[in-house]
């Protein structure tokens, strides 16, 4: 198994607060790796470090053997690493298709090619009917899906999904699971943050659980679910 992304002893401090500490893990080619942990555990910060939004305070990050820590997000994106945002960031006054075209332009200079890629990405994420709607007036479920369509249009090798299921109704959850599986089936490696256990347990090959910025468990979904430290982190420690 070859590692696509490797974090080596990565630390991020904001002033005196350590958001991520000594984080070391690899994302292997072809897998779906789940990242779980209680609120504020540092999951999104890890995405922001990989994506280049923050430089790490210490440690190194590699993508396909090249160091990417300290690179700007647009450079990381061009290397083939796309992400979605937990707090969705639609380009509000642009139509859905234009939103996706913007990201498709990262791989081409030609309008018609960008449009073609954007049409494919919206079809892939089953957003055809929403193409001409202004992104700012989309319902939340579709905004989350637009994040995925845009990330896909940059033709990534690795996709970082940040809570794409949060706030979805049960029907939307089922269809989004199908889309994530379809994306994975097309050869994209996925690192996913998710709170809905049913989702993360069913689609991840491997799960890492973090708490207070540190890794507390790593393994198959079953192993992580049975881990006492994970149970304590989520449910608290019983009084003796």
């Amino acid at each position: 198994m070859t590692a696509l992304i490797t974090l080596n002893d990565v630390t991020k401090r904001f002033g005196g607060l350590q958001a991520v500490g000594h984080m070391t893990f690899s994302l292997n080619k072809g897998e779906i790796l789940g990242l779980i942990g209680p609120n504020g555990a540092g999951k999104t910060t890890i995405f922001n470090l990989i994506n280049g939004y923050y430089p790490p305070t210490g440690g190194t990050i590699f993508f396909k053997g090249d160091r990417i820590d300290g690179l700007k997000p647009h450079k990381v994106c061009r290397l083939g690493l796309a992400r979605t945002f937990q707090v969705v960031k639609p380009l509000a006054r642009l139509s859905v298709l234009d939103n996706v075209m913007v990201s498709a332009f990262s791989r081409t200079n030609h309008r018609h090619e960008a449009e073609k890629t954007a049409l494919e990405a919206t079809a892939f994420t089953e957003m055809d009917a929403w193409r001409d709607v202004k992104a700012g007036s989309l319902p939340l479920g579709m905004r989350k899906r637009l994040e995925m369509a845009r990330a896909l249009a940059t033709k990534p090798e690795v996709l970082l999904l940040d809570e794409n299921f949060a706030g979805l109704n049960p029907t939307e959850v089922v269809s989004t699971i199908e889309i994530v599986k379809k994306i994975h089936g097309s050869g994209v490696t996925i690192l996913i943050i998710e709170h809905i256990m049913r989702v993360i347990m069913s689609i991840s090959h491997r799960i890492i659980c973090i708490n207070y910025g540190e890794k507390i468990a790593e393994g198959t979904p079953r192993e992580v679910a049975d881990n006492q430290q994970v149970i304590d982190a989520y449910l608290g420690v019983a009084d003796a």
Binding site: K72, L91, F105, A114
Partner: protein, 317 residues
């Protein structure tokens, strides 16, 4: 070419025929000023409207363009620079734009808006004090190349039309999509692979080039400039914003509508009231921001979109 395209050419033809229809220097002067302000409004709109980078100091570029031509003529070039002087004025303004953009566009927020405001004041003071080069506060005077206003009319028209064409072309291609993305959300734009610093700079380069060319045209046409005129914050920098906001920022025809109303109202005030047009525009812009935040053209577009949606909903019911 479709029928609709041919119809769209009709107003262009009419505008081109204006100097044939009237030889009145006064009317032509009004039209020339309108065309000049269309160019200025469009230039500001590209950076402020489409790219979302507000500039409070575009007079910096206007003044640099004007002074480039003025100094060239003063140093012995024939005043026929009305033609190629525009190019040089635009280029020197773009160089100034490149410098300030290169420094400021790494940062976000109000840094650029305020730095460019400071820049225009610095340049005004340089123009006042560097007497050997600029003749100081007395300004520079020369006899314009053409006595007939018809020539200037066509030069101003060509400048506005080329500016319009370039902006339309840019907005339909990759940089245009990137400008809009930067305006909407810079974090998101970065994560979609956009080098935001670089594309903000591209937008500024085009905007400052055409503002500088307009400044050079102003010098050639009026035959006189001084630092207080061309580096003026209220008369140039603020008016460029006002013209754009009035007509509608980030719309195709907003700056044109804004420029025509601006010239018309300024003239009415000059002739019948004497002064106070700045006060009037101040009140007008407050009203526009409260009642039509997307400007006149923006409001019309919104209204038409709403009507289309309503009739679509009606036909379904």
């Amino acid at each position: 070419m479709t029928k609709k395209n041919l119809l769209a050419l009709l107003p262009v033809a009419l505008v081109l025929l204006i100097p044939v229809a009237t030889q009145s220097p006064y009317l032509l002067h009004m039209f020339i000023l309108s065309l000049l302000w269309i160019t200025l409004g469009q230039s500001w709109n590209l950076l402020g409207g489409y790219t979302g980078q507000i500039s409070y100091g575009h007079a910096a570029f206007f003044g640099v363009g004007a002074y480039t031509t003025a100094i060239m003529v003063k140093s012995g070039q024939p005043p026929a620079t009305a033609w190629w002087g525009l190019l040089l004025g635009g280029l020197s303004a773009a160089v100034v734009g490149a410098l300030i953009g290169w420094i400021c566009f790494r940062l976000r927020g109000s840094y650029f808006a305020l730095s460019v405001l400071a820049l225009s004041e610095v340049l005004r003071l340089v123009a006042v004090n560097w007497r050997q080069l600029t003749n100081g506060a007395e300004g520079i005077l020369f006899i314009p190349a053409f006595t007939s206003k018809t020539y200037y009319y066509y030069i101003a028209f060509a400048l506005a039309a080329i500016n319009y064409g370039v902006i339309r072309w840019v907005m339909r291609s990759k940089p245009g999509y990137y400008f809009l993305a930067i305006r909407e959300d810079q974090d998101c734009a970065e994560s979609l692979g956009i080098d935001t610093t670089r594309y903000k700079l591209y937008s500024l380069l085009i905007s400052s080039f055409f503002t500088g060319a307009a400044g050079a045209f102003y010098m050639n046409y009026m035959g006189f400039i001084d630092p207080g005129i061309v580096f003026s914050i209220p008369d140039i920098s603020i008016m460029m914003i006002l013209v754009t906001m009035l007509g509608g920022a980030a719309t195709k025809w907003g700056p044109t509508v804004g420029a025509v109303i601006f010239i018309l109202v300024s003239e009415i005030f000059r002739v019948w009231v004497g002064s106070g047009h700045l006060l009037f525009f101040g009140v007008l812009i407050v009203a526009i921001i409260i009642y039509f935040p997307s400007g006149i053209v923006g409001a019309i577009l919104d209204w038409r979109a709403r009507r289309r949606r309503l009739s679509a909903a009606g036909s379904e019911a």
